[in-house]
C-alpha cells in the first residue's frame, strides 16, 4: 500500500474568495428563492442564487455562486462556481472553485471541489474529492413524448 511509485505531488489549493451570499455576481444579479417557495425540477441560470425555500431536482449555475440559506431544504445535485451551504442539503455538490459548509449547514452526499471548507459545527456525511476536476454536467433533455 505504501510503496507505490511516484506519479505526482498535490498542488496547492488556490484560496478563492467566493461571492458573498446575496451579493450580485458578475451578471449583477442575485435571485432569492424565498422560504415559502417549493420547486421541483431543474434550475439553471447565469446569476447568483440564494435558496431559502425547498428545492428538489438539479441546480446548475456554471459561473455563479449558490447559497443554500439557513431555511433552505434541498434534495438535489448542484453544480456552481462556489457553493455555500447554511441549511440542509441531500445530494452531490460540485464546486468549480470551492464548497463551504457552515456551522449551521447539514449535508448528506458527496462533494467534488478543489477546495472544501467544513466550518466548526458543520454536519456532513459523505465523500470529499478534491482532486477530480469539477466539470458541469450537461443537462439532460426532457424525454420526448410519443406522438399519437
Amino acid at each position: 500500500m505504501f510503496d507505490k511509485s511516484k506519479k505526482s505531488t498535490p498542488s496547492e489549493t488556490p484560496d478563492h474568495t467566493p461571492t458573498a451570499p446575496g451579493r450580485p455576481g458578475a451578471s449583477g444579479q442575485t435571485t432569492t428563492i424565498g422560504p415559502s417557495i417549493r420547486i421541483n425540477g431543474e434550475i439553471s441560470g447565469e446569476e447568483d442564487l440564494v435558496i431559502q425555500g425547498a428545492v428538489e431536482g438539479n441546480i446548475q449555475l456554471k459561473e455563479h455562486h449558490l447559497t443554500v440559506g439557513e431555511q433552505g431544504r434541498i434534495k438535489a445535485d448542484a453544480f456552481a462556481r462556489t457553493i455555500t451551504v447554511r441549511g440542509e442539503l441531500t445530494g452531490d455538490l460540485t464546486g468549480a472553485e470551492k464548497v463551504t459548509i457552515t456551522a449551521s449547514g447539514r449535508v448528506r452526499g458527496n462533494i467534488v471541489a478543489p477546495k472544501v471548507i467544513l466550518e466548526e459545527g458543520a454536519s456532513f456525511k459523505g465523500s470529499i474529492d478534491m482532486e477530480t476536476k469539477a466539470e458541469a454536467p450537461t443537462l439532460k433533455p426532457a424525454p420526448k413524448s410519443k406522438s399519437a
Binding site: 500500500m1 507505490k4 506519479k7 498535490p10 459548509i101 467544513l118 466550518e119 458543520a122 454536519s123 474529492d129
Partner: protein, 213 residues
Amino acid sequence: MPLFSRGGRRVRSSETAEMASEPMGAPALRELMAQLGATEDMHFAVLDLAAAAGDHLQSFRPFSSRFHIAGLAEELSSWHAGEAPSAPDPNELMPLPDDIPFDVVLAWNLFDHLPDEALLRLAGHLRAHCRTGARLHALVQTGTRMPVDPGRFRLQEDGGLVWEHRPEPRMDAPRRAQRTLERLLPGFGAHRARLLQNGFQEYLFVANPTERH
C-alpha cells in the same frame, strides 16, 4: 448523575457539562502520517469514522485524493439518548462507497461505544471496504469508566491530538484487551499498540489479506 440501564449503555446525557481539552501524543498516528507523507504516490483514500472536522480534512489533504466522513460519532450520540441496538446493520449505520477501497481508517474513541456484536459486524463492513495493507488507527479507553460523550479529536500540526469532550456523565467502559479487540476486528492485525499517558491505548491495525480480497 449518569443513568444506566442494564449493560451500562443507556444513559442520559448532560447538556450543561463543561467541555474538557486533553492534549495527547499519538506516536503511531505521527508515524502513520510521516509514512503517508514519505510515500511518493500520495493519493490515498481516507475514511474518518468521526463527525465532520475541518482540521482532519486539512491534515490529510496532502495525502488523500478521497476523504470520506462516516459520522459514526453522531450516530452513537443518538444511541445514548435511547436504547442502543445490539447489532445494527452496518450498511445502514455507516454506508460506504464501493468504488474506491480505503487505505487509511481513523477510529478514535468509537469502538468502546459499540457492543461486541456491533463492533464485530462493523469490522467486517470496514474490512470489505479496505485495501489489503490498509492502516486502521484506533484509540481505545483502558479505564473502567469513560465519558458518555465520545467527544472529538482535534488534530495538531505536529501530529498530536487534543481530545475535546464532556467529562460527565460517565459510563462503564468495556476495557477490551488487545486479544479481544483482534477477535472483534477480524481481518485486521495489530501492528502497533501503545498505552498513552491519559489512559488511551493507541493501536495501529493493518488489514490482512483475506480470501475475498
